[in-house]
Symmetry: C2
Subunit: 428 residues, 2 copies
Amino acid sequence: MKKFNTSPLSGMQELLPTEQAVFDQLKQNISDVYHHYGFLSIETPIIERTDILLAKAGGDTEKQIYMVSKTAESADSADQALRFDHTVPLARYVVEHNNDLAFPFQVTQINRNFRGERAQRGRFREFYQCDADIIGRESLPIAYDAKVIACIHDALKTFKLPKMLIRISNRKVLAGFLKSLNLSEKTSEISSIIDHAEKIPTEKSSAALHELGLNNQQVEKVMAFMFTHGSYDEIAAKLTEIMSDTTLIADGLAELKAVFDILTQKGTENCIIDFMIIRGLDYYTGTVFEIVLDDYREIGSISGGGRYENLASNFTDQKFPGVGGSIGLTRLFFVLRDANLIKIETKQPVDYVILPISEHEYKASFELADKMRGQGKTIDVDLSNRKLGDKFNRASKISDYAIVIGNDEVTSGQYKAKNLKTGEITKL
Amino acid sequence: MKKFNTSPLSGMQELLPTEQAVFDQLKQNISDVYHHYGFLSIETPIIERTDILLAKAGGDTEKQIYMVSKTAESADSADQALRFDHTVPLARYVVEHNNDLAFPFQVTQINRNFRGERAQRGRFREFYQCDADIIGRESLPIAYDAKVIACIHDALKTFKLPKMLIRISNRKVLAGFLKSLNLSEKTSEISSIIDHAEKIPTEKSSAALHELGLNNQQVEKVMAFMFTHGSYDEIAAKLTEIMSDTTLIADGLAELKAVFDILTQKGTENCIIDFMIIRGLDYYTGTVFEIVLDDYREIGSISGGGRYENLASNFTDQKFPGVGGSIGLTRLFFVLRDANLIKIETKQPVDYVILPISEHEYKASFELADKMRGQGKTIDVDLSNRKLGDKFNRASKISDYAIVIGNDEVTSGQYKAKNLKTGEITKL
């Protein structure tokens, strides 16, 4: 017999049913909060045209994308790939269907995406992202940036995690700041250095800036900038120290102020301005945010997103500004489990296992099962012909209660449930 | 500007939010019933090793499979493909995790699969399948075949469709029948002819049998066999007419009888034996079934499945017999909508749209929204700075009710909902 490797491919998450139940519950929690906020569900295909996916990607994306082809080649199978996020397909969707949508279009996508990243513990190549986006036509008020942040924060609150911190920045502030230092041309490289600064020693970041050709004063200012964080009022004061010309960043600061005002009115807690927040993807233009667990910074951000003013600009002349955020649930589930931070209780997946003694009790068992299912219970009827002990053993792995049905029970119509942990018997 | 094609790729279903809500509701209905029957959820990766997927596939599968590769080639990216069904990955999963599973293992997978079929109206390359399977270790009583059929039938009952008919056959009966005609060697070819017989004129089927080299008498018998259908009792009588040696098919008939006995006890209606049912896939070994809408045969089967005694045999020496069935929801949704048979009512996705008159009413709007969300309502707060008329227009596309909040409402704490269809105003 040929020997097959039956483990899932590297970078793919595969859970046992009990773990899957927890994962599904977390996913449902997110979905419920998004829907309560009025986000509408859509699903775009997993396979898209490669040119659509890569129209604005750049960076590592092109290297990580999974190309798709059929064994039997046909004309239309050439340029297809698996989507690497929900945002690019959403831009396509909005352009394609804009006449049928109500703007601002509040939309959620909770589904799998694919990136062929280098295999590494805790990195996944196939992963769930739970996105909430709001797309305007022509314009979209800054208040929606706050709405997305508040909604995602509320969704994560259902996880009952340790204290969360919402770190917010604005790309316009960075752009204005770099312009004031005559560094606009190096925006992309400097952004990348700031983006990675949290994970490496401070000296390495400043060394990288020096390598880029910044003089001592510029390096000092950029370092001071990236480590600037605090409440809006604190920041506004500090910024005047750092920046020579504050008028350049007036736009970005005004947007930050508006976002914070709304979040305050919304009662969203633990928000700070933090200029270390960049978000890697190039398409962000204004607000960017990340949510972290304040006492577990090492696990990285648990959500992030931002404003993209021009995402669909490659596909249309119309303007569809958007703001969105995402919870990377597969990675989040992995790190939370690793840090023992999943506190959600999920009961055993089956409410009752019915154990008919013999085939003579099948009919009564089916009737009882259907009646209880009608009451919303999950019921397993064990039809195997194994010993009762073996049946109890299996039952205890999927449920807390078993109902044995023999001739006596059928005759009397009286059924009893046995608690499989305590042995306690209760009448139904 | 480069011109992009923003339509989804051929063979991909992409729905508007209102249609998506109906689709999601049908999917949820199926999931609920499967769970009520005690099936546990798992998710296997969409990308699998090609040799695992093709270990037992054969037929068209190999031509239709989507191969996956990364742009930047790496050692492990060579032999990966998208799964074409849930059953093969399930076999791998059971072999890989069998020590952690409770057998009989009742498992459901509701997710997308991929087949690069020729593009054709109503054929999808990316499609949801809603599978329910039961896997035994060493053995699995025939009663579970009936359980899977009953469960899938109950799931479909929630769709409120016209009369369903459950057509059941057993591969052993066919094998025994062909053996009695000395046609065992042509089982595969004859199965294929029977499998397609319903869609073509009778003469073509008999011509195809003649072409295979069957003599007149054999053709006559096979034709009579494939058109045999009815209740168990009717069939048992007819079979003795058709078959020279009934002992050969005793096994299959006994299994059919057991399945029908259980279905009767379970109260599952409208079941017939029908020897035209083959199910294309080679891995079925006993029971095979399809569910059709009796008055809409032209839309094809709306579900199907069967018993596979040896599915994991390529991966392990252990025996894991299974039985399962599937609802192909993407295609089903398409044909039901086409035939105007979707009767599920879904309300507008948002319960209330709150319209603050200005930014001064944001705080009160957020408070009201959160309060109502806490009561399980879906609430959209419109933060756009468009005219009130435009806001009402958008609201009516996603909801039946709007709540306008101005200074008076904030001061009085009295809110009113406007029915966007009738204009009726009610106090909250």
